[in-house]
């Protein structure tokens, strides 16, 4: 999931996104990563609050949650930068903590707080379907402009899941199992989560979140077997209306 940039930082954010797009955890000793760190240090001198937030995203590349948290906390103590809030949400998702990201969105995405437009689409694409729809309606009734309408796919997903009694909390807890498998293998999912929605009665009704990974077809299948084992081990009560899987990119 891509990070959002501010004008002065777009090159650095592009660099961050390129490393993230490799789909595997980076090492701090790699040339690209050391170069990025030096650029981030310069940027932090110019814009301390957003700089710390980007350091948080840098630590995501290394798979380091505690450093990610520390850097974002430093940023939030200094100033409230909307793009930083969006990047914190994206960072939690990139590290596979979807349920935490969902609760962050529930708290910080409320329309009256003014940063919904920075988080809504990303939150909807990572399982907060019903909350994103509800907040969009609230914003509309309050006369708050959010830009383009929420993707119809997410609206349909929210409807199918609400009808089946599956909450955003259920969805993101299930996604967390996939996050756990990704962390075990030091992997990131690539691009946005593919949200498939089928709502043809008598054929198939359900929502599937597909996480694309840079693995061979056979290795990706084995990740799904591992995910299935984890779901069983943790006693996940699956609702037929929702599932999560990996596919090779």
């Amino acid at each position: 999931m891509k990070l959002a940039a501010q004008t002065i930082s777009s090159e650095v954010v592009d660099r961050l996104n390129r490393i993230l797009h490799r789909g595997v955890y980076a090492s701090p000793n790699e040339f690209d990563v050391r170069f990025l760190k030096r650029e981030l240090e310069k940027l932090r001198d110019a814009d301390v609050a957003f700089g710390w937030a980007l350091f948080g995203s840098y630590n995501v590349l290394l798979g380091d949650l505690s450093e990610t948290e520390r850097c974002f906390s430093a940023s939030f103590r200094l100033a409230s930068v909307p793009a930083a809030s969006g990047n914190y949400h994206a960072s939690l998702c990139n590290l596979g903590y979807f349920n935490r990201a969902h609760h962050y969105f529930v708290e910080k995405g409320r329309p009256e707080l003014g940063i919904l437009s920075h988080m809504r689409d990303e939150a909807a694409s990572t399982g907060s379907f019903q909350t994103a729809v509800a907040y969009s309606k609230e914003a509309e009734s309050m006369g708050i402009a959010l830009g383009p309408e929420l993707n119809d796919r997410y609206v349909r997903a929210a409807k199918v899941l609400a009808n089946a009694g599956v909450s955003d909390d259920d969805v993101t807890r299930h996604l967390d199992f996939a996050g756990e498998v990704l962390r075990r293998h030091k992997l990131f999912f690539i691009n946005d989560i593919q949200v498939n929605v089928s709502d043809v009665d008598g054929e198939f009704i359900g929502v599937t979140c597909v996480l694309n990974v840079r693995k061979s077809p056979v290795d990706a299948f084995e990740l799904n077997v591992e995910l299935a084992e984890l779901e069983q081990e943790m006693g996940l009560q699956k609702n037929p209306a929702f599932d999560v899987m990996f596919l090779p990119l």
Binding site: N196, V197, S198, V200, D201, G202, E203, F204, I205, G206, T208, V210, P217, V218, A220, F221, N224, V225, E226, L227, A228, E229, E231, Q232, K238, P240, D243, V244, M245, L247, P248
Partner: protein
């Protein structure tokens, strides 16, 4: 059976090879799904213990059966069945899109993904001969 699941997949690949427009892409996806459906149905029927049938319609039922296998199976057999259920669900979803959502674009990428997923289903859902888990 006069037309086995592999024949459906072969037909799907032939359509994929000539697919230059959306309607043909949709046809390839649709045939691929039925190949997977029959392959998975044979796989499921060959499991030593079957699960409980839940859901409306044969497609949803098979996906749910694979996704909720009998607890009497070994951990590995259960996990493989669940993983196959996820794959079948993915191709079923593509097929519902192909056949019932003409207003939603069907790209060649989506067709290729459905075919690649189908290949993996065929690879993983081969019915084993000999000792069963």
């Amino acid at each position: 059976m006069t037309c086995d699941s592999a024949s459906y997949l072969d037909a799907s690949k032939k359509i994929q090879a000539i697919a230059k427009d959306e309607a043909t892409c949709r046809a390839a996806v649709s045939r691929a799904y039925y190949a997977c459906y029959h392959r998975c149905r044979s796989y499921y029927a060959a499991l030593p213990v079957l699960g409980v049938i839940v859901g409306k319609g044969v497609h949803e039922q098979l996906i749910n059966c694979l996704g909720n296998p009998s607890p009497k199976l070994t951990t590995n057999a259960r996990a493989r069945s669940v993983a196959l259920g996820k794959y079948l669900r993915q191709v079923c979803d593509a097929r519902v899109h192909a056949d019932y959502a003409p207003d939603e674009v069907m790209t060649s990428e989506k067709m290729n993904q459905a075919l690649a997923t189908s290949e993996m289903i065929f690879h993983q859902a081969a019915v084993k001969k000999g000792p069963v888990e």
